[in-house]
Amino acid sequence: MTRQRAAGPLRAGIVLVTDSASQVHATMPVAADELVFLGHYKDFPILPGVCLVDCAQRVALESLARKEIKLRLAEVCSARFLAPVFPGDELTVLLDWDAGAAGRVARAEVSTARGAAARLKLRFEEVDG
């Protein structure tokens, strides 16, 4: 098994379905045995909303890494959590890079088969040092 390059709350791998300069389409399974479900919550497993931020962040950074661009998440400009995500769901991420923005700003929608689960605006910046 490939060792991870960054720590994160979910063990599942991201699949980049399409990856252009302006838009990324990715999927990620939410396995029923993800560790977060042990404690969020007992007898009522539901994915913490922040995991959707992590998912969109990973999609953005993985896409940038393929282009040999190394940035870090500087700001969650906004996030709206619209619907719950449960064990066994498959997440779809549609991420658009905002061409006009200073720095790198991504707008992402994370959805399940039931519809949109979160809408996010994330800002990335150069890694110090």
């Binding site: 098994m1 060792r3 991870q4 390059r5 960054a6 720590a7 994160g8 709350p9 063990r11 560790l35 977060v36 042990l38 404690g39 969020h40 919550y41 007992k42 009522f44 539901i46 913490p48 909303g49 922040v50 995991c51 931020v53 992590d54 962040q57 870090r72 998440l73 500087a74 700001e75 969650v76 400009c77 906004s78 996030a79 709206r80 959590f81 719950p84 449960f86």
Partner: protein
């Protein structure tokens, strides 16, 4: 006035491995300070390559801060409800949090609405700013609302 400092497990429904507040340092009306000690033994590091970036995941830092906010909101919440994150605005990250850091979360209650609270604040580690939160909305919902 400083209220009695609660044990986190009596006020938060979160449990291992996602109980991300270790201790409540102080609670006052509308304010809380809570601590989270980060360790490389947390499960998020289990599959990390030895030469990889050991920064604590940004999303989990936010989750930890939100749980501190949950301590503040707990007084006004029916114990049968679960706390869910409704929205975030202006969440900025400072220097990376690393294993060995003790993060001190500061949360201020901005507004209390029916079924939700609006909070703001920041987090420090070793005196450095690691997080500022302009606004977070935490909603309290029953299991039945999700059809489960």
């Amino acid at each position: 006035m400083t209220a009695v400092v609660p044990d986190v497990k009596t006020v938060l429904p979160h449990r291992y491995p996602i109980l991300l507040v270790d201790r409540v340092r102080s609670v006052e009306p509308g304010r809380v300070i809570a601590l989270k000690a980060v360790t490389g033994n947390e499960p998020w590091y289990a599959e990390l390559a030895d030469d990889a970036d050991p920064a604590y995941p940004a999303a989990l830092l936010v989750e930890s801060w939100c749980q501190a906010a949950g301590v503040l909101a707990a007084d006004s919440v029916d114990p049968g409800l679960v706390m869910l994150l409704g929205g975030l605005t202006g969440v900025r990250f400072g220097r990376p949090v690393l294993p060995g850091d003790v993060v001190e979360h500061h949360v201020v209650l901005e507004r209390e609405l029916a079924g939700s609270v609006v909070v703001s604040g920041h987090a420090l580690a070793g005196g450095d700013s690691v997080l500022t939160v302009e606004r977070a909305v935490m909603a309290h919902r029953s299991h039945a609302e999700f059809g489960r």
